[in-house]
Amino acid sequence: MPRSKPARADILALAAQLRARFEAAGARPVETPILQPADTLLDLYGEEIRARAYTATDALRGEQMMRPDFTVPVVQMHMSQGAEPARYTYAGEVFRRQEHDPDRANEYIQVGYEVFDRTDPAQADAEVFSLIAQALDGLPARPATGDIGILKAAVQGLHTTRARKDMLLRHIWRPRRFRTLLDRYAAAARPAPARAALFDAADPFVGAGAEIGLRSRAEIVHRLRELRDEAETPPMSAHELAGIDALLAVRETAPFALQQLRDIAVDLPAITPALDGLESRLTALAGRGIDVDDLEFEASYGRTSMEYYDGFVFGFSVLGRPDLPPVATGGRYDALTRQLGQGAEIPAVGAVLRPGLMLELREAAR
């Protein structure tokens, strides 16, 4: 099906309407600069951001990025001056570099709604989700939900070393590496002979060449100790591993998903508080008129996007059009406020809509 591009004026008009709708819900409209300092974004997202954001450089300010999203500048603004609780809305262009797919837009309008509120996370989650669902009412879009917090809790509760848990948590957003790590921790693998010899060597640096670079001898000795500790750590229990596998496979309508997860919690009791959170969220959603019996829940949802959502996650995808990007996405990003807050933190949840895509869907429906 060919895509007819809506006129920019129409997109802006719809964006203004959506922003007004969010203002009516209690949000304060905010603006952020288009050029963002690159180091904050790089520090947060790593090299991956360079594949996704356009960079501009000048001799005075160095590397800057054309905002790939509003979340980071809005969080920064809130953390530096915001009073609590706070609700913000914004509308404007975001820029995404496209290195692989020429059909994906490299510039489009986003309208967002962000909530910073400590009182009741389940209510805040439900508030954001239901506002987005209302805005999309009548369009052929279907929501899917997930909760990264459940997987995190499962990993934190494993009966294994801190080092292993840290490594797994670090790679929650890289499913392939996460899987490789799990498999390794579950197998009683011996270190390769050359490596085992290194553990026993009186001086592991014999014949290693000149000591160059910033990574110091002490760091290398430290890692060798970690490797030796890891080699001596017994494999992870098959029981717990099966629990993680079962958790990752959960994909059901929300009430059934919760039920399955409660069963899994018998083996992974550490996820129980996160499941209580999911249950409260479902109650809050139902209280706002969302049909939770029909709401899709996927335990792995949101694991391949950029690592900033760490609790509730959701997206609305276009029915029958897997080639199109989601028309709305959102989630909870408590950890992001911690990283940007220089010691402070606040529970935060938000979502963005793509009015351009909404118009395309409206026109296609006609």
């Binding site: 520090d43 790679h171 000149a210 910033l214 990574r215």
Partner: protein
């Protein structure tokens, strides 16, 4: 119209390219003085020679300003998004071998694989407050590779030359660069990760899929390809 053949304008790569075509009876030469970037083609009608920097040949092929071009696989993959749609590989030419690899100091006795690199990067970031820096000029290839392999906590720093020296100069902790023999790496106290081969590259003859071909060009192209095959 003539069929335009883009060839590296300098050095061993140019000479070897000339030798390679010579075997098919196609004589390429630089006309005029050594400083003038103009060329001649003898032994086949309807082909003209365009001398270019090897780094520009991918772009010229993708823009359709040349029909045929000689350049490394590495440059095509790095510079062209969805390169398969823009150019067609006609033949690897058997010289200009170079591997794009990841290398770390030999002194890092605890790092032999990408898995080690990932763990070292985590520790490095915690200890130094910034990500482990990898110096390269092949940003896209290296980033795609490390994403697929699930390596985190690194960042790329641009290095357009003397990349092997960046670790000693403390502007990077590791490098990703082209190596043919590994001698420069050894001289700079570096070692290649056992699974750190990102791309195997050699000089290759490419055809542009987007350049305009009139009837005459098609006939010439058919003869040209025939000569090369024989």
């Amino acid at each position: 119209m003539t069929l335009k053949l883009g060839v590296p304008s300098k050095g061993r790569l140019m000479e070897k390219t000339f030798d390679w075509f010579e075997r098919s009876g196609i004589r390429l030469s630089r006309s005029g003085s050594d400083r003038e970037y103009a060329g001649m083609v003898e032994g086949i009608e309807g082909v003209s020679l365009v001398l270019l920097s090897a780094g520009e040949i991918p772009r010229e092929l993708a823009a359709g300003r040349i029909h045929l071009g000689v350049t490394g696989t590495d440059l095509i993959h790095e510079k062209l998004a969805r390169w398969e749609q823009q150019v067609e590989e006609i033949q690897p030419m058997g010289f200009g071998d170079a591997d794009l690899i990841l290398a770390v100091p030999r002194f890092w006795v605890d790092v032999d694989t990408l898995d080690d690199l990932d763990a070292a990067a985590a520790g490095f970031r915690a200890a130094h407050g910034h990500r482990l820096r990898i110096a390269t000029k092949y940003h896209r290839l290296v980033r795609d590779f490390l994403r697929d392999e699930g390596v985190a906590d690194y960042m790329l720093v641009d290095s357009q030359g003397a990349t092997e020296g960046t670790v000693k100069n403390e502007t990077a902790e590791a490098i990703a660069d082209i190596t043919s023999t590994g001698e420069t790496l050894r001289a700079n106290h570096l070692k290649i990760l056992s699974d750190g081969l990102i791309l195997r590259s050699q000089a290759t003859l490419w055809r542009s899929r987007v350049a305009p071909y009139d009837t005459g060009d098609r006939t010439t192209l058919a003869e040209f390809l025939d000569r090369i095959d024989g």
